[in-house]
C-alpha cells in the first residue's frame, strides 16, 4: 500500500512536474516514465502517480481518490473545487488573459461576446465589472473565434503569446498569473498529515534549490 496517491495533469505540465518530484527525492526508472501506464509507483513504493487530464485532477483530489495533485491554477479557478493549495510550484508559469484584435469592442458598453475554454473565469472577470457577456464555450483553437467573427474577444491561457500574435490578436488585459499548484484533499491532509507534510517539505526544498540555480 502506498502512502500517497498524486494526480498529475497530463500534457503541458507533466514533464516539469515529474522533474520537480524527482528533485524532491521521488525515484522513477526511465522505463516507468516511457511506459504508457496511467498509474505508476515510485521506486520507494511510497508514492503512486496517476496521470489524468488536467481538468480531472481537481475531481480525483476532491473525491479523495488521489490525496494530492499537481495542476495549473487556471484549471483550479475554472473547477471551483474545494481543495487545499499549500504550495505554489513555480512550474508551468503562464497567464490568463483577455485578448482581441484591438480594444474597441471592450470599450463599448453593450454586450460582449467572449469565446473561451474557461467560462467560469470569464464570467467572473466580466461580472466583477458589470459587463454583460455572452460566453461562448469552445474546446480549442479559441484564437480563431475573433478572427472569424464568432466573438469580440477571448479569455485564454497564454504562455509566450506567439499563437496570439500569429493570429493577429493582442493581449488587452491580464486576468491573473497561473503557475502550477500542489493541491491536497481536505481529509487526506488530516488523516495522512505526516506523509503530506513530508511531501510539502521536500518539494519546498527542491523549489528553493532550483531558485538558487543549483
Amino acid at each position: 500500500m502506498t502512502d500517497l496517491t498524486i494526480a498529475i495533469a497530463k500534457g503541458r505540465l507533466q514533464e516539469e512536474a515529474l522533474e520537480l518530484l524527482t528533485s524532491a527525492g521521488l525515484g522513477f526508472s526511465s522505463e516507468t516514465l516511457s511506459s504508457r501506464r496511467l498509474a505508476v509507483e515510485d521506486e520507494s513504493g511510497r508514492y503512486c502517480l496517476i496521470f489524468v487530464k488536467p481538468a480531472d485532477v481537481p475531481v480525483y483530489v476532491e473525491h479523495g481518490i488521489a490525496d494530492c495533485g499537481i495542476v495549473g491554477r487556471d484549471v483550479l479557478l475554472e473547477s471551483d473545487a474545494d481543495l487545499l493549495q499549500p504550495l505554489s510550484l513555480n512550474i508551468g508559469a503562464c497567464r490568463i488573459v483577455v485578448a482581441a484584435k484591438d480594444d474597441t469592442p471592450l470599450r463599448q458598453l453593450g454586450m460582449l461576446r467572449v469565446a473561451t475554454k474557461y467560462p467560469r473565469i470569464a464570467a467572473q472577470h466580466f461580472g466583477a465589472r458589470g459587463v454583460a457577456v455572452d460566453i461562448i464555450k469552445l474546446s480549442g483553437s479559441v484564437e480563431l473565434a475573433p478572427v472569424l467573427g464568432l466573438a469580440d474577444c477571448i479569455v485564454d491561457l497564454v504562455e509566450t503569446g506567439k499563437t496570439l500574435q500569429e493570429n493577429g490578436l493582442g493581449i488587452i488585459e491580464v486576468i491573473t498569473d497561473s503557475a502550477a499548484r500542489l493541491v491536497v484533499n481536505r481529509a487526506s491532509y488530516q488523516l495522512k498529515a505526516e506523509a503530506v507534510g513530508q511531501l510539502i517539505k521536500s518539494l519546498e526544498v527542491a523549489l528553493l534549490r532550483r531558485a538558487s540555480g543549483d
Binding site: 474545494d82 481529509a187 488530516q190 498529515a193
Partner: protein
C-alpha cells in the same frame, strides 16, 4: 418528449438490503449513545420560514435551500439545517426549562446545490447533539467525549482524526490588523485553503517578513501540543491568546484521557467564521474523501431568536458514515434478523395467521407464503 419516470433527481438515492440495515444500525447506535449522555430527542418541522434559516445559518448557506412561497406569500424552505430549528425551540418552547438543555435529533436536510463536488448529496441525514445554556470548557469536552464514544462504537477510533480550532484565534489576528470585511475574507480564504505562499505575501503588508512566514507555516500543518506553543510565541494579541488558553486547557484534558491520538490542533480551520464563536472541530475518517461530521460553539445563534445563551453542538453525516462502513465490510456483523425465518403455509387463512401470530408473540421471524390458498 416527457421525462422518463425512471429517472432519479441528482443528489437523491435509495437505500435497501444490507446497506439500509447498516444505516439503521448506525442511527440506533448514535441515538442510544446520545441517550446515554442524557440527550433528549427532538423532532423539528421539515418545512419552515426561510428567514429562520437565513438568521440561523447565514445567508450564504441558507441560499442553497429549496425555497417556495406559502399561501400568504411568505417564503418557505425545506430545512437545509437542523441547528437553527433547535435553537429557536430552545429560545421559545423551552424558554422556561432548566438549563443546560441537552437535545439530539436525526433528520434529513435538503440543499438545491451540493456542498461541494465530492459531497454530491442534496438530501443527507444529519444526526446531531446540541448542548444549550452552558458555556464552560466542561461542555466543550462533553460533546467531544460523545463524538469519541460514537467513533468507538463504530470501530472507527483508530481510523479517525478530529481537528480542533478556536475561531477567536483568527478573529483576534484580523482585529489586530484592522482588516475591513473584504480583506478579512481574503485572509480567511487563504488560511482555509492553507495557501501559505499567498498568505505570506498578504501578511507582509502588515507585519515583518519573518513573522508572516512563521504564521503562514503555522496554519499550514496541523499538530499536537507543540502547535499551540508555537502559536503562542507568534500570536500575541489578547483575544487570540485567550482562545489559545482555552484550546490548551482542552488539550490537557484530552491528554489526561489518553485520547490525543485522535485529535489534531488545526489553526487553519476557519471555514465558517460567521457562525461559530469559539471551539470548532471537524471529524475525518479514513475511506471518506470529505469530513463526516463537524461542530463547535455557537454562542451568538440563539440571540437571533430572542434569548442569548451559549451553545455547543455537532452533527454527524449518516450517509457518509454508512458509505465508509459499508465499504469496510462492517455490515456483516450488523445484519439484523439473520435468525432463520419460518416459512408459513397453511390450508386456510385463519390457521395461517393464528400460527404466525403465535410465533411472532415468541419473537420468531416469519415469512408468509403469499401464494393464494384455497379454502
Amino acid at each position: 418528449m416527457s421525462e422518463p419516470l425512471s429517472r432519479i433527481p441528482a443528489g437523491m438515492r435509495y437505500y435497501s438490503g444490507s446497506e439500509a440495515r447498516l444505516r439503521r444500525e448506525i442511527e440506533n447506535t448514535l441515538v442510544s449513545t446520545f441517550g446515554g449522555w442524557s440527550y433528549e430527542e427532538i423532532t423539528t418541522p421539515t418545512v419552515d420560514y426561510y428567514s429562520l434559516f437565513e438568521h440561523g445559518m447565514g445567508r450564504s448557506q441558507a441560499h442553497h435551500a429549496f425555497r417556495f412561497t406559502d399561501t400568504d406569500g411568505r417564503m418557505l424552505a425545506i430545512r437545509p439545517d437542523v441547528t437553527s430549528l433547535v435553537a429557536r425551540a430552545a429560545a421559545t418552547l423551552f424558554a422556561e426549562r432548566e438549563r443546560p438543555l441537552r437535545l439530539c435529533y436525526v433528520a434529513p436536510v435538503f440543499r438545491q446545490q451540493p456542498q461541494s463536488h465530492a459531497e454530491w448529496r442534496r438530501e443527507s441525514t444529519q444526526i446531531g447533539c446540541e448542548l444549550i445554556g452552558a458555556s464552560s470548557s466542561v461542555s466543550d469536552m462533553e460533546v467531544l467525549a460523545i463524538v469519541c464514544e460514537v467513533l468507538d462504537h463504530l470501530n472507527l477510533d483508530r481510523h479517525c482524526s478530529i481537528t480542533l480550532n478556536d475561531v477567536e484565534v483568527f478573529n483576534g489576528i484580523a482585529e489586530e490588523m484592522h482588516l475591513g470585511p473584504d480583506a478579512r475574507n481574503e485572509m480567511r480564504e487563504l488560511v482555509d485553503t492553507r495557501n501559505a505562499v499567498d498568505l505570506e505575501r498578504f501578511l507582509a503588508h502588515y507585519s515583518c517578513l519573518a513573522d508572516s512566514r512563521a504564521f503562514a507555516q503555522l496554519i499550514q500543518l496541523s499538530g499536537k501540543r507543540k502547535t499551540l506553543a508555537e502559536a503562542r510565541r507568534l500570536i500575541t494579541n489578547a483575544r487570540s491568546q485567550a482562545a489559545l488558553d482555552r484550546l490548551e486547557r482542552l488539550w490537557s484534558v484530552i491528554e489526561s484521557l489518553q485520547l490525543e491520538d485522535r485529535f489534531e490542533i488545526d489553526l487553519g480551520d476557519v471555514s465558517r467564521l460567521d457562525y461559530y464563536t469559539g471551539l470548532t472541530f471537524k471529524i475525518y475518517v479514513s475511506g471518506a474523501g470529505t469530513r463526516v461530521g463537524s461542530g463547535g460553539r455557537y454562542d451568538g445563534l440563539t440571540a437571533s431568536f430572542g434569548r442569548a445563551e451559549p451553545a455547543v453542538g455537532f452533527v454527524l453525516e449518516l450517509d457518509a458514515l454508512t458509505e465508509v462502513l459499508f465499504a469496510r465490510g462492517y455490515e456483516s456483523s450488523l445484519i439484523h434478523g439473520s435468525a432463520e425465518a419460518t416459512k408459513l403455509t397453511a390450508n386456510n387463512l385463519r390457521d395461517l395467521f393464528v400460527t404466525a401470530r403465535k410465533k411472532r408473540a415468541r419473537g420468531k421471524r416469519v415469512v408468509i407464503n403469499s401464494i393464494e390458498v384455497s379454502d
